[in-house]
């Protein structure tokens, strides 16, 4: 075969690439060309690029080893701009596109000449596994300095430093059968189920569906296997009941057949998503699939042999050689030595030979191999060295030769004299490991199978493995297995499918392989040149041997001590070899050493894809009241309360300068105390309670009494958990004999609703009562201040006379022509009306209030002012003045505790436990700083003795603290040990700045202690 002019390793024909479409790309600053249909790895090999990276620990030059997800070395940093950077992209899984820009993740100043490699060369022997546990300990103070230098060597690729220009999304999918892997077994399974009419999803991680059929030597119905795959894919694509997902990796298998499929939608088109019809689609998409049954047709990964120098560029796994030649028309070298333990890998030599390059020898660990492929190789005159293996690869930046000798695999010895064969490529195969990762995610432990020399998956109900994924590597059997597993799966769902007619396979007879993992060397493992097991983490056979010598005997210990399998490839190539080496060192069998446990992800997944659209402004819902637009337009600053955005304060701009928080709050507070203010209180939870037992229920769930609350009246209530600690509070109004409206705190609304349902449904189902959230139905505006009555009177037909409509009454009527329920409830201590209207009309009512309110000085206020005003009155805020460890008694709210109610309401029993009866519990009190200018810090800790040495005994803390414009001083609420019996005593608050504040313990009500202002 001829070769392409500027791509030295590109064959003139063959492969599934489009030679008519040439693509240029840049690697490590140099421009190259490849073709449409290439992956980055094939394009690099076509161009003769040997060194693609430097290794993590020893900084050794590394080349491409494999052709798929198992590749450990060829990790690149992708992206031509800062924002488009993607770290650690596997060149074997990245489709080539025009303009692709990539760099090696390691190597300084460049991957060819790397300074760190000196460290690796000279210092390698000083860096056995776990070396850092054994050193850098003296002096103790130096570790942070040592660590700084160690960290300089950390990492592979780098994070972008700019925001991601791309978007991602999710698609929730449901199907009867999910088939993972579109190789022979997967295609057969999907086709069977599809023709049976089931809802089917078929996904495959590669650019093209077909799996091993795409580079198979076998014929199906006397035509290339890839042709059959194309026909099946075409039929599936035409069916409504099938979803085909190429470039889609099943990365995690979660409970009850929930599988996440990561679809790379645009990564083959460019480094950022290109615009299609004026829209930039999601760069990748996570399919969240709920499947009825799942067929795992995930195939197998070839296991390389472990020999000295097996990491030098030019060492590949045998199957990858075939893949590059047959799929991409690329021969990754001139002269091949193939080292194998099985027949199947002979394909590499045959393909190499057909590509017109030299096969120096096939080195077979078996004594008398005799399968069809072996015979074909013999017939072509290829030299086959039996009972032997490659002991050592020679060369530093590219393989220059292979030292070969006969070995006794079982005795782990070299039996013959080594011969050096000149070559530039060594391909090896130690057998095939089923891809059991997904089955392993379900928690099922794989089991070792001696016949196939690999772990086969254990399967939970509803999961079926087919073909190579369970060690059935024979093509005809694999196809039939796919059909059988699809039928099984459908029948488990109560569906049925007929077996499809399978293509005829021209069988290739293969002899059985032998067990060979680590190839013996003339020198003992600890003295031999490095034999790599995990190429990405630079774990050698010597490291594993050393770990076992040091007592790390469980495979989990070996892995953790050496870092084997912890790379981004999760040990797809190396884990079994590592286990075999550990087993050899410990004199055990592989299954005795342990099993191998895989966790999601199968291959790494972009954070963005997992996040989906739930980012930026859609990270979490923002809940708005019906008056939000007014707040925005009137300059409100907002506070986060749960998911709500509540106006925090309304800064005014005076003379071009915006008020500070303190200035605005002082103004708002005075407006309420002296004139009238208005608060949007719509966020308070509101629950409509109906039923003959509503009153009884309230009596059980609240600490206080409800038996006598008359229609037209409202009452404040406390709600505790059954441990006696306050959980929420609010007023509840009696709308009619069997009808109540409960209010809750803003943050507590959903929790209280569920709490009511919990008690009703699980403890008291016999009570006839229902709860319905009406939080969103009603908008609530609090009009409060001395002028409130006058203002409201202008626009309502309700009789606001102080004796007709008294404190804690509610009335129906119209406000601004809108039907309203108005509650005389006050959280400010001033005359107050809480107006509830159907939310769709709230804006009209609010604006009407302002239209009439100007002359009264109507001032909108936010949560901060609300906090100051209520604190001046000693009203608590659940969650601020309480923290889940405070009882109603601690709050001094015995008046709201119905000790003599006939039932044991929720929380009652707990109040008589020994700890809740202690006299020195922390109790809510007021604090008046000795210096009136001081506003204590919220969260400041309180001590009795300011001169006590640290640790100081703390007796409480400040829960709420503000400057009161009404008092002209700071004031606070606090909890203090035994505080209710310490009125008048002085406590101290030692602060971070070294100052210690003194404050007097006072009652909790600072303004209008008799409550006259709200009763006017």
């Amino acid at each position: 075969m001829s070769q392409s002019s500027n791509q030295p390793n590109r064959l003139g024909e063959g492969g599934r690439i489009d030679r008519a479409r040439t693509l240029s790309f840049t690697f490590n600053g140099k421009r190259y060309q490849g073709h449409a249909g290439d992956i980055l790895a094939s394009a690099l090999l076509a161009n003769g690029v040997d060194i693609v990276n430097r290794s993590f620990k020893y900084s050794r030059p590394r080349g491409i080893v494999a052709a798929g997800a198992e590749e450990p070395n060829a990790l690149v940093q992708l992206g031509s701009t800062e924002a488009a950077q993607v770290p650690n992209v596997r060149a074997t899984q990245q489709a080539l596109f025009e303009g692709l820009t990539a760099q090696s993740t390691n190597g300084w100043p460049n991957v060819q000449r790397d300074v760190m490699s000196l460290v690796g060369k000279l210092g390698g022997r000083f860096m056995p596994p776990g070396f850092y546990y054994k050193t850098f300990m003296a002096p103790a103070s130096m570790w942070m300095t040592y660590e700084k230098y160690i960290r300089k060597g950390a990492g592979l690729g780098r994070s972008p430093m700019e925001r991601d220009p791309d978007s991602y999304d999710h698609l929730n999918q449901h199907c009867d059968l999910l088939v993972i892997g579109a190789g022979p077994a997967g295609l057969a399974a999907a086709l069977t189920a599809a023709r049976g009419g089931a809802r089917v999803i078929l996904c495959d991680e590669q650019e093209e569906m077909g799996g091993s059929l795409l580079d198979s030597r076998e014929l199906l119905d006397h035509q290339p296997a890839a042709r059959w795959a194309e026909q099946v894919v075409a039929e599936l694509a035409g069916r409504d009941n099938v979803t085909l997902l190429a470039r889609t990796t099943a990365n995690g298998y979660h409970d009850h057949h929930f599988v996440t499929l990561h679809e790379r939608r645009t990564e083959h088109l460019g480094e950022t998503a290109p615009t299609v019809n004026g829209y930039r689609p999601a760069r990748s998409r996570m399919h969240r699939v709920r499947a009825g049954q799942v067929v795992l047709a995930t195939g197998a990964h070839e296991r390389p042999l472990v020999y000295a120098g097996n990491d030098v560029p030019g060492n590949l796994v045998a199957g990858a050689v075939s893949t590059y030649i047959r799929r991409f028309g690329v021969v990754p070298g001139e002269k091949l030595v193939l080292s194998v333990s099985n027949d199947h890998a002979y394909r590499a030599a045959l393909d190499w030979d057909e590509a017109g390059r030299e096969v120096v020898a096939i080195v077979d660990a078996r004594l008398a191999p005799d399968g069809d492929l072996v015979e074909q190789a013999r017939a072509r005159g290829i030299r086959i060295i039996e009972g032997a293996a490659v002991l050592e690869a020679k060369g530093s930046t590219r393989v220059s030769g292979a030292r070969v000798a006969t070995i006794d695999a079982e005795a782990f010895t070299v039996t013959g004299q080594a011969e050096t064969l000149a070559c530039d490529t060594i391909a090896s195969s130690g057998g095939y490991s089923p891809v059991i990762h997904l089955a392993s995610h379900t928690g099922a432990r794989p089991t070792w199978n001696d016949e196939i020399l690999g772990f086969v998956p254990s399967l939970v109900k509803g999961v079926h493995a087919a073909g190579s994924a369970r060690g059935m590597h024979d093509l005809a059997k694999g196809l039939a297995d796919g059909v059988a597993k699809a039928c099984e799966a459908l029948s488990a769902l109560g569906l049925s499918a007929d077996a499809i007619t399978l293509p005829q396979v021209d069988a290739i007879r293969e002899g059985s392989g032998c067990a060979l993992y680590q190839v013996p060397h003339e020198k003992p493992t600890l003295r031999a040149p490095k034999q790599f097991v995990d190429l990405q983490n630079d774990v050698t056979s010597a490291a594993i041997e050393l770990a076992t010598r040091e007592g790390f005997e469980s495979i989990e210990h070996v892995k953790r001590y050496t870092a084997m399998g912890f790379g981004t490839d999760q040990g797809k190539l190396g884990n079994i070899n590592g286990m075999a080496i550990a087993a050899r060192c410990l004199g055990k069998s592989i299954p005795e050493v342990g099993t191998t446990v895989f966790r999601p992800n199968y291959t790494p997944v972009t954070f963005g894809a997992i996040v989906g659209r739930h980012c930026r402004e859609l990270f979490d819902p923002e809940r708005y009241t019906a008056l939000h637009q007014w707040h925005v337009e009137n300059g409100a600053e907002f506070e986060e309360v749960g998911q709500w955005k509540r106006p925090w304060y309304f800064p005014k701009t005076v003379n071009g300068k915006q008020e500070s928080l303190d200035e605005a709050v002082a103004r708002e507070c005075l407006a309420v105390r002296e004139k009238v203010g208005i608060l949007d209180a719509s966020t308070l939870g509101k629950i409509d309670i109906q039923g003959p037992d509503a009153r009884e229920f309230l009596g059980r769930i609240y600490t206080n009494k409800w038996a006598k609350l008359a229609p037209g009246r409202a009452r404040y209530g406390l709600m505790c958990k059954d441990d006696g600690m306050l959980m929420d509070d609010g007023t509840t109004s009696c709308l009619a004999e069997n009808h109540f409206l409960m209010t809750t705190t803003t943050g507590g609304a959903a929790g209280v609703m569920e709490w009511l349902e919990l008690w009703h449904q699980t403890e008291w189902p016999e009570l006839d009562v229902t709860f319905t959230s009406v939080t969103d139905h009603w908008a609530t505006m609090t009009v409060t201040g001395p002028e409130a009555r006058k203002l409201l009177a202008e626009i309502t037909d309700i009789d606001l006379d102080r004796d007709a409509f008294t404190f804690m009454d509610w009335r129906e009527g119209k406000v601004a022509d809108v039907p309203a329920r108005v509650f005389r409830i006050s959280f400010t201590g001033e005359l107050a009306y809480e107006i509830n209207v159907q939310a769709n009309y709230a804006m009209h009512v609010w604006k009407t209030l302002f239209a009439h309110g100007e002359k009264y000085g109507l001032t909108p206020y936010g949560t901060e002012t609300m906090h100051v005003l209520r604190a001046e009155k000693g009203f608590i805020i659940a969650g601020q003045d309480t923290d889940g460890s405070v009882t109603p008694e601690d709050l001094g709210m015995q008046w709201a505790v119905g000790y003599d109610k006939p039932n044991s309401w929720v929380g009652k029993r707990a109040l008589s436990r020994s700890d809740t009866r202690r006299a020195d519990r922390k109790q809510l009190v007021g604090l008046r700083p000795k210096d009136p200018k001081v506003v204590l810090e919220e969260g400041a800790q309180i001590v009795f003795d300011p001169d006590h040495a640290i640790p100081m005994p703390m007796v409480g803390h400040v829960t709420s603290s503000y400057y009161s414009p009404t008092l002209g001083s700071g004031f606070a609420l606090a909890v203090v040990k035994g505080g209710q019996s310490r009125m008048g005593e002085t406590v101290y608050l030692p602060m971070a700045d070294g100052k210690t504040h003194a404050a007097e313990i006072v009652g909790t009500i600072f303004v209008d202690p008799k409550g006259e202002r709200q009763n006017v």
């Binding site: 999304d169 999710h170 698609l171 929730n172 999918q173 449901h174 809802r199 019809n277 829209y279 689609p281 969240r288 709920r290 659209r613 739930h614 859609l618 979490d620 819902p621 923002e622 809940r623 708005y624 019906a626 939000h628 637009q629 709500w644 966020t683 409509d688 109906q690 039923g691 003959p692 229609p711 709308l735 009619a736 004999e737 069997n738 009808h739 006839d768 229902t770 319905t772 959230s773 009406v774 939080t775 969103d776 139905h777 009603w778 908008a779 129906e812 119209k814 601004a816 022509d817 809108v818 039907p819 329920r821 209207v837 159907q838 939310a839 769709n840 009309y841 709230a842 804006m843 009209h844």
Partner: protein, 216 residues
């Protein structure tokens, strides 16, 4: 009306009878996020049916069914997660839970309906709650409406799993809503007022790919 009803429950018409400007829960969203126009390219179209009457019915199915039949002329859906519609498709009743249904009727009918139902129900154990101000209904049509829903809810919206006449409360983005399919082409979403803007922004974002348009 039975004597009890008046004293036992507070029956209350919250809808003004004079001309008062009203704002749907999406008023702010239209103002702030705009309404992408409907075009030939729009493969999803959103339309709000604002200001409808929404009533929550609680109680036993048999008693309520009888009352509803008498008042509205059609009954409660018999199965969980389904809805029934009147002949013109203007009024609907949806199963929400074994003792809870959602009635949606043209705006303005809800108070009279509640009154008549309460009369019909007499002393039975039941509850009716007007929720008209707390939620709004939007419709999604277009050949990509289903895919937009797939981006947003884990519930299976495949026609086999979600036939016409089905309705469920489920997760949608990070909020929840009621999702229903009254006709072959139309999906209806009942949104809670306070979440409406978030959901609107979500739907526009997810629908941009399909050139989503919002009918005025």
């Amino acid at each position: 009306m039975s004597d009890h009803t008046a004293t036992w429950y507070n029956l209350y018409d919250a809808r003004p009878h004079s001309e008062v400007p009203a704002e749907s829960p999406l008023a702010w969203s239209y103002h702030h996020s705009g309404r992408p126009s409907v075009s030939q390219k729009s493969r999803v179209v959103l339309r709000e049916r604002a200001m409808a009457g929404h009533l929550i019915l609680r109680g036993g199915a048999i008693v309520l069914d009888e009352a509803v039949r008498g008042v509205l002329g059609f009954g409660l859906p018999g199965r969980p997660n389904t809805l029934t519609l009147d002949e013109r498709g203007e009024r609907s009743i949806q199963w929400l839970s074994p003792d809870e249904w959602l009635l949606i009727v043209p705006g303005g009918e809800e108070f009279a309906l509640e009154k008549r139902l309460r009369e019909a129900l007499g002393d039975a154990h039941y509850a009716i709650v007007n929720a008209s101000g707390g939620q709004t209904l939007i419709e999604l049509t277009g050949d990509k409406a289903r895919e937009l829903l797939m981006k947003s809810t884990p519930y299976d919206v495949h026609p086999e799993a979600f036939p016409v006449g089905k309705g469920v409360t489920t997760v949608f983005a990070k909020a929840n809503l009621i999702l229903r399919r009254p006709t072959e082409e139309r999906w209806e979403l009942v949104l809670r007022r306070s979440f409406a803007d978030y959901l609107y922004r979500w739907i526009l974002d997810a629908g941009a790919e399909y050139a989503i348009g919002v009918e005025e």
